[in-house]
Amino acid sequence: MSEFDHDHNDHPGVSRRKVLECMTWAGTGVLWTISGGVPRSLGLVGSAQAAEPAGLTFLQISDSHVGFDKPANPNALGTLEEAIAKIRTMPMKPSFMIHTGDITHLSKAAEFDNADRIISQAKLDVHYVPGEHDFLDEEVKFYKDRYGKGSKGAGWYSFDANGVHFIGLVNVVDLKAGGLGNLGAEQLEWLEDDLKGKSKSTPIVVFAHIPLWTVYPQWGWGTEDGARALDYLKGYGSVTVLNGHIHQVMQKVEGNVTFHTARSTAFPQPTPGTAPSPGPMKVEDSKLRSMLGVASINFKQGTQPLAIIDTPLAG
């Protein structure tokens, strides 16, 4: 088991080396903690956790693709089960979990049932946003029936926890030919409205399936109107954007905004441009679990620099 404990300077001067270093991680999930508006992420296990962070701690998992059974991972349900088992052994229980989409592979009822059965074993509240793989059923209702309660439009919503404002966005519907992920005018309007009255010192966590920033447009890894959403978040002291979709850890710090993508619990995808397509990447069986993972986040009072840790299912 290996873990990663990279501290990031929260200011714009973050070094290129640091960022690149972080881009090499791969993992099961991220444990996040928020303190004084500054999100830190801690490993699921190991030294970072032993530090007993105060404040709000939550977990991110992503891209479980329940139902996927192709060579890149013939048992995606099994690796999700391993990730959840790992979460259950955490010495410090996170407050809740977010799932950044692609819960299922083909939106079949049985896939949603299996995902629920396994994820509920973590015994944590889970806040979901959908991936494009969760809207494939004929009537496009399975996801919304299960997870859409209290949400607007295609499933966006916000909530508050420990003084942190969480915003779940949907950027996987109504995609335009030749384009990227899409939020749409209605959702952007809602977002602007949702932020009204929030003081600029309120820490904000935005989570959505497809990266809100442009990672690699040639593979569709970005959100067409993501910049408009980020415009509304200007002026806030601390903004953390958590995404999935690309099945690998990437991180970028830009001014007040920290962007982070989580690993999949199902299968890895190639680094941008290193393969003919973003399809599932077949790696040696012995390597697979080092490329799947979860992430944890801890928000603490104080002015410590941002740290994010992703933990793979196995080192």
Partner: protein, 110 residues
């Protein structure tokens, strides 16, 4: 009696196929296949005769769709699933995968 009727129907059907092909001197439409490999339609551009049926087959390990706004829309195609559409009117048909919109193709029907 029944036997004879079926035979006649079969002959009629064959005749109908021929008449379609002979409708114009070069208008005999042959069915065409488009494959999806590595998130790419191949060929991405095609020129066809009216009446041609195109069948798309997904060879990726990830599902795709084939959508031409207002014209046709496939169900989600899992690995090795196919979708067919017969082009009965001339025109330019732009289509894309609604899950991975950077995947696009064009069919020109004459």
């Amino acid at each position: 009696m029944m036997h004879v009727t079926l035979r006649s129907l079969g002959k009629l059907a064959i005749a109908a196929m021929f008449s379609m092909c002979l409708g114009g001197a070069h208008a005999c439409a042959e069915d065409t296949a488009i494959t999806i490999d590595n998130f790419t339609f191949s060929p991405a551009e095609l020129t066809l005769k009216v009446g041609t049926t195109v069948t798309w087959t997904n060879h990726d390990d990830i599902p795709h769709t084939i959508v031409s706004a207002g014209k046709f829309r496939s169900k989600t195609l899992d690995t090795d699933n196919s979708f067919s559409f017969t082009f009965t009117a001339a025109g330019d048909y732009k289509y894309f995968c609604s899950l991975h919109p950077h995947m696009t193709g064009t069919i020109k029907v004459e």
